[in-house]
C-alpha cells in the first residue's frame, strides 16, 4: 500500500535517531485505515465519555414542543424522537452503554477463553480433547439463537447482557489459544522449565501464555466489534438493554415504525454502530499484520 500521499509513517520516520519505532508499531502505522480507525475510536470514546456533560439536553429530557424534529432544523442538533428527546444526547449516552458492553464482554471472554485454551492445550490428551469437543459443540449453535434463548431466560440488564455475550464469544479465543499452546508445549523452553522444577501453573501462565499474546490481542479486538454488533441485535429484537436506558440497538427498535415519518431516527444509530464496528475491525486487521513478524516479508 504505497501511495504518493504522505503517510503517518513518513512523518514518524523523520523522528530523531535513537527514537526508532519498534517494528510492530511501524508495521501497524503502514495500515492507513487502521490508524484512521484508532483516531475514530478515540474520538468516539472521548465524545461518549464527555459528551453527556456538555450536551444542552439530557438524554431522558422530554421536549414535547419539538417532537420528531429533523436534524439541523431546530434546537436539537441531530433531531429528536417521538417524545422530543435529543437524538445527539441519546446517541452519546447509548454509545457509553454499547462500548462498555463490548469492552466488558471482551475482557470476560478473553479471560475465560485463554484459561480454558491454555489448560486444555497444556494438559492435552483426553481432558483437552473433551474440553475442545465441548467448545466445538457450543460453536454449532448460531450465536444469535443462543443469545436470544439466554436473554429470554434471564432478566436483561447491562450486566447480564454483557455476561451472555461473553458466553457466546469465549470459544473462539479458547480455540486459538489451544492450537498455539499445543504447538508451543513441544518446544525446548517448556522442557527446560519442567527440568528447572517449575510448577505446571507457572509453566502455563508464565511461560506459555505470554507467547500467545499476539493472536489473543487480535481476537480480543474482533470480539469487541462483535460484542457491539451482538448487543445491537438483541436490543433491537427487544431482549437486550431495556428502555429508557438507551443503547444503539434499542434506539433502532422503535425506529422501524417511524421509518416513513422520521427516517433520521433509524439512520443515525446504525451509522454509529457501523462506524464503530468498522473502525475496530480495521484496527484488528492492522494489528494482525503488525503482530505477525512474517508479514514484513510479504
Amino acid at each position: 500500500m504505497s501511495g504518493e500521499a504522505v503517510t503517518a509513517l513518513d512523518i514518524l520516520e523523520e523522528a530523531p535517531r535513537g527514537r526508532r519505532l519498534s517494528p510492530t508499531l511501524r508495521r501497524f502505522l503502514r495500515h492507513r485505515l487502521a490508524v484512521l480507525g484508532v483516531f475514530v475510536i478515540v474520538f468516539l470514546v472521548l465524545a461518549c465519555a464527555a459528551g453527556p456533560y456538555l450536551a444542552s439536553y439530557g438524554h431522558l429530557q422530554l421536549d414535547m414542543r419539538h417532537r420528531f424534529q429533523p436534524p439541523f432544523a431546530g434546537p436539537h442538533l441531530l433531531g429528536s424522537d417521538e417524545l422530543g428527546r435529543d437524538q445527539l444526547a441519546r446517541l452519546l449516552m447509548a454509545g457509553r452503554i454499547s462500548l462498555t458492553i463490548g469492552l466488558a464482554a471482551m475482557v470476560i471472554s478473553v479471560a475465560v477463553g485463554s484459561v480454558v485454551g491454555v489448560v486444555a492445550g497444556f494438559l492435552g490428551g483426553a481432558v483437552g480433547g473433551v474440553v475442545m469437543r465441548l467448545v466445538d459443540a457450543i460453536l454449532c449453535f448460531p450465536a444469535i439463537f443462543l443469545l436470544l434463548t439466554l436473554a429470554a431466560l434471564i432478566s436483561p440488564n447491562i450486566v447480564t447482557i454483557t455476561l451472555i455475550i461473553a458466553l457466546t464469544a469465549w470459544m473462539e479465543v479458547a480455540r486459538i489459544v489451544y492450537g498455539q499452546i499445543r504447538a508451543l508445549r513441544e518446544m525446548d523452553f517448556v522442557a527446560a522449565a519442567v527440568a528447572a522444577g517449575s510448577t505446571p501453573l507457572r509453566i502455563m501462565f508464565r511461560e506459555l501464555l505470554p507467547n500467545v499474546t499476539g493472536p489473543i490481542i487480535v481476537a480480543a479486538t474482533l470480539i469487541v466489534a462483535r460484542g457491539i454488533l451482538l448487543e445491537s441485535y438483541v436490543s433491537y429484537l427487544g431482549y437486550g438493554i431495556q428502555p429508557p436506558v438507551p443503547s444503539w440497538g434499542n434506539m433502532l427498535e422503535k425506529a422501524q415504525q417511524y421509518l416513513t415519518t422520521a427516517p433520521w431516527l433509524a439512520i443515525l444509530p446504525g451509522v454509529m454502530i457501523t462506524l464503530t464496528v468498522a473502525s475496530i475491525n480495521f484496527v484488528g486487521d492492522g494489528l494482525r499484520d503488525a503482530l505477525d513478524p512474517r508479514s514484513d516479508q510479504r
Binding site: 454449532c140 434463548t149 431466560l153 445491537s232 441485535y233 440497538g249 433509524a266
Partner: protein, 316 residues
C-alpha cells in the same frame, strides 16, 4: 477415503450428542427453567405449578428427563408446542421452506457477486479495484444486518416504492412473480454479509492457488494468462470454497433470523422469535437443536464433498 468419511461421521455423532446435552442443560439449569413463564401468572399457586410440572414430567430427576427427551428426539417425537399443541417437528417443517428459499437466494448472490469480486481482486492484487473490494468487504461485515434491512426498506419501499416493505406476498396471491418481488429485499439484506465473506475467502483461495508451482509451469510453457487463470487457478481455488459454504451456515442461519424479523418473512427465524416471546420452550429447544444439527450436517457434507472432489485432501 471410506475410513476418513466414517471417522468424520463418528465425530459428527459425538458433536450431535454434546449439542443435545448443552441445549438440555441450558434450558433446565437456568433460574425458573421451562415453567418460568407460569411462575408470574396471577392466580397460579405453588400447588398448581407442582401439578403442571408433574403433568409435563418436569418433576422427575434430570437424567431421566434427558433420556426421555433424547429418546423422543431420535424417534421423531420432538414434543408439542405450548402454544397450539402441534408437534414441534411439524411446526418447524412448515417454516423451513421460506427460510431455505431466502438462504438459497442469498448464497446465489454471494457466489456470483462475491465470488467474482474475489477472483478479480486476486488476479489484480493491490489494484484500485482490489483495495476498494477489501475495504467494502470490511465495512459490509460491520453493518448490523437489521439496520441494513431498515435502510433497504426506507430506500426501495418508502422513497422509491420499488419493493414491498416485507412479508412473502398478499394472502391468497401465490403467483411466482409476486413471490420473487418480495424475495428481492430480504435476500439482498441477507446476501450482504455472505457476499462479503465469499469475496474475502475467494480472494485468499485464489491467491493461494496462484502461488502454486503448477501455475509457474503453466505460464512457463506459454499458456495464455486467460487459460492459466481460467482452467488451472480457478478450478483449484474453487475446491476449498465447498468447505467455506459449510462453515458459513451458522452465520447464514443467524442472519436469516434477523432478516426475517425485519421483513416479516414467515420463516424459521420469525418462528424462533415468536416462540421466545410466548416462552414456547419445546419449540425454542427444537429450533436450537435443529439449527445445530443443520450446522453439523452442513460441515459434514462439505467436508465429504471436498474429500471426494480433491484427491490431495485424502492423502493428508
Amino acid at each position: 477415503m471410506a475410513r476418513y468419511i466414517l471417522q468424520r461421521l463418528g465425530q459428527s455423532l459425538i458433536l450431535l450428542w454434546l449439542v443435545t446435552l448443552i441445549g438440555f442443560l441450558l434450558l433446565h439449569l437456568t433460574p425458573g427453567g421451562p415453567l418460568s413463564q407460569f411462575a408470574n401468572t396471577p392466580g397460579m399457586s405453588d400447588e398448581d405449578l407442582r401439578r403442571l410440572a408433574a403433568q409435563l414430567g418436569l418433576d422427575r430427576p434430570l437424567p431421566v428427563q434427558y433420556l426421555d427427551w433424547i429418546g423422543g428426539l431420535l424417534s421423531g417425537d420432538w414434543g408439542r408446542s405450548y402454544r397450539d399443541n402441534a408437534p414441534v417437528l411439524a411446526v418447524i417443517g412448515s417454516r423451513i421452506g421460506a427460510t431455505f428459499q431466502l438462504m438459497g437466494t442469498a448464497t446465489l448472490i454471494a457466489v456470483l457477486v462475491g465470488g467474482t469480486a474475489g477472483i478479480i481482486g486476486a488476479v489484480r492484487r493491490y489494484s484500485l479495484f482490489d483495495q476498494m473490494v477489501t475495504i467494502g468487504t470490511m465495512i459490509a461485515l460491520s453493518i448490523p444486518t437489521f439496520w441494513f434491512g431498515l435502510v433497504v426498506i426506507y430506500l426501495f419501499s418508502v422513497e422509491l416504492g420499488w419493493l414491498p416493505p416485507g412479508n412473502i406476498g398478499p394472502v391468497g396471491n401465490a403467483s411466482l412473480l409476486v413471490f420473487l418481488h418480495h424475495l428481492i429485499g430480504p435476500s439482498m439484506v441477507l446476501g450482504l454479509v455472505t457476499t462479503a465473506l465469499w469475496s474475502r475467502f475467494m480472494r485468499s483461495s485464489m491467491l493461494d492457488a496462484l502461488s502454486q508451482d503448477y501455475v509457474r509451469t503453466a505460464r512457463a510453457k506459454g499458456l495464455p494468462e486467460r487459460m492459466v487463470i481460467g482452467t488451472h487457478v480457478l478450478r483449484n481455488a474453487l475446491l476449498p470454497m465447498i468447505t467455506i459454504a459449510g462453515l458459513e451456515l451458522p452465520t447464514l442461519l443467524g442472519g436469516a433470523l434477523v432478516t426475517e424479523t425485519v421483513f416479516t418473512w414467515p420463516g424459521m427465524g420469525r418462528l424462533f422469535l415468536d416462540s421466545i416471546e410466548y416462552r414456547d420452550y419445546p419449540v425454542v429447544m427444537g429450533m436450537l437443536i435443529f439449527a445445530a444439527v443443520l450446522v453439523i450436517l452442513g460441515s459434514l457434507i462439505a467436508d465429504v464433498l471436498h474429500t471426494v472432489a480433491d484427491p490431495r485432501v485424502r492423502l493428508r
